[in-house]
Amino acid sequence: MARHIPWILIAIVGAVSLSVVAVSRGEAVNALWIVVAAVSSFLVAYRYYALYIARHVMRLDPARPTPAIRRADGMDYVATDRTVLFGHHFAAIAGAGPLVGPVLAAQMGYLPGTLWIIAGVVLAGAVQDFMVLFISMRRDGKSLGELIRMEMGQAAGTIALFGAFIIMVIILAVLALIVVKALAESPWGMFTVAATVPLAIFMGVYTRWIRPGRIGEVSLLGLVGLLAAIVYGQDIAQSPVWGPAFTFTPVQLCWILIGYGAVASVLPVWLLLAPRDYLSTFLKIGAIAALAVGIVIMAPPLKMHAVTQFVHGGGPVWSGGLFPFLFITIACGAVSGFHALIASGTTPKLIASEGHAPIIGYGAMLMEAFVAIMALVGASILDPGIYFTMNSPAAVIGTDAASAAAAVTAMGFPIEPGLILQTAKDVGEHSIISRAGGAPTLAVAMAEIFSHVVGGPAMKAFWYHFAILFEALFILTAVDAGTRAGRFMLQDLIGLAVPGFKDTSSPLPGIVATGLCVAAWGFFLHQGVTDPLGGVNTLWPVFGISNQMLAAIALMLGTTVLFRMKRDRYAWVTMVPTAWLLICTVSAGWLKLFSADPAIGFLAHAAKFSEAAARGEVLSPAKSMAEMEQIVFNDRIDAALCAIFLAVVLSLLFFTIRTCIAARRADRPTAQEIPAVVAAE
């Protein structure tokens, strides 16, 4: 009993903090209450729920050799220290998603997002990562697609691989869109990001030829270069010659990114991708740690309302009501299907003991949720007027400070035009109006927090561009790495029909697959950039649906494996989150397809515009007949995409049910694990 007492105290602290966050109205709540509520919930969940899953559901056996022991080769399979592997795994799962989703979710107030991040990660997100790691670890570290094929059959595996490819395309498009939104018309930001290309090439040459493998020293050199780029970026932006040279419209940036993606993904990895990954990984971990310290030191009050009127729908940042759209908007911070690919990637090949799986699988995801909580806090300490000015599309609030202030005040968030202009001036930008996508909002918040701790108001512009650079840097790394991964997925898929296409060593299939991959995400990026509603509004929900559906697929795999292990009585651990994710994603997908409200349903929106076009009418925000046709075409593509996602997830649900029924009929376990006796040999 005595050993439970500290945990009971932590639980009480968490419950008190959570009730302060939940019931306070009127007076400002301090952000630390959210942080304390989250941290204590996570600690208790880890101590009780993760260990319950480990002991009873999975029955982890520290004596059973892991792939790193069984197949040790000194390269891919290496038994790795627990803390070191935690760092490796966390760095692999942490990306832009948990930073952007919660910022967008803040349009409904801080309370719904906080509650869903805490509940979602404990019951769904961390369970998913942990479960996939467990399944892969018992099968020589096989990948998600192979695991689905092993446990649910060939057809299910192929459908899942196809789904994962489309999801990859959407992720790359939406990430690139965030970069476009952050760098458009911002010469300072554009210069610093552009400067990372020659800087990374220098680092690549250094680690390849001058001092091979010296990552630490080359990263320090790179960091010095980055800071210099941020400092001199201000002079560049103000220069009459260089300022305009680094100022691009969103459409120009879209084409620059597409060209960049095509070239970068065929360069040797050591030249650009690897060195930039060093920089972006260390910068990301450093920035996250600094943000945590900054929030604790500053202890800022929350200025966003706990709940805004937009819970019922009609919000300017993204359309739709709280259910189901909040649960797909906070994509990665609570549950992320993409983690299933990481948990069945390098991590299961490195884990030294089954006993380490809870802290790596479940623990690292709790850490990711903590990052999401910090992003939500960041968005919520800003004046709500600033938040809605930055995140509403120009079609709703106009493009100058006076119109934006009037429109946002009319929403119920009073703001003076002067404050909008002053905020832009503080962070060294021409304008902060309609800078959707989450990254700029978070950058303003980080500038607020960092300048409070270091440098005061004079440093705000520096910190803003530091934050933009850190987000853009790891997004560009993800675009480059994702295009390469997408190329191999596509070669695998086309290889099913044309066997010669699978040959990854011959250049032609590689070039064709890379080209197709870039064209696919480039298409959605261009659509998002030219979307009069700002793009994020359209693309982020599609991304959210696809990512959460991949999570549902991973949890269905977990359920199947539990049934096949004859542990049906514990299968609720994965069935409950699967059911919730299916309810959210299928209803969100359905609404996106068939809702009669043109702000939500793609088909209703297409019908509205095509009917108007048939009458010869041009509806705002289109400005010509050609734009009208473009909108209708985009809507239909997006609708088709939603239909594909629904078909993928529902067919995998069918395979899951079929496999589970067969497993129940069998009189012994049928899971394809490597048996303990074989593993021990």
Binding site: D73, A92, G95, I215, S336, I342, F474, A481
Partner: protein, 61 residues
């Protein structure tokens, strides 16, 4: 202090998938005593290609 620094260095290198050369040498000695091991630079290049070549599923969102 020095141990803490070495540990942080090890974690930081693992975050970007850089190999631990000592662990590799130990493995080669235990399992393939006759075979000549790769040099540190060779192993680094081999691991870099394996991590970033794209067959590992890329980065997370």
């Amino acid at each position: 202090m020095r141990r803490l620094f070495l540990r942080l260095r090890q974690i930081a290198r693992a975050m970007v998938g850089a190999p631990d050369y000592d662990a590799y040498l130990r493995h080669m000695q235990e399992h393939h005593p006759g075979a000549p091991p790769l040099s540190e630079a060779q192993l680094f290049r081999e691991r870099q290609e394996a991590r970033y070549g794209g067959k590992n599923g890329g980065k997370c969102c």
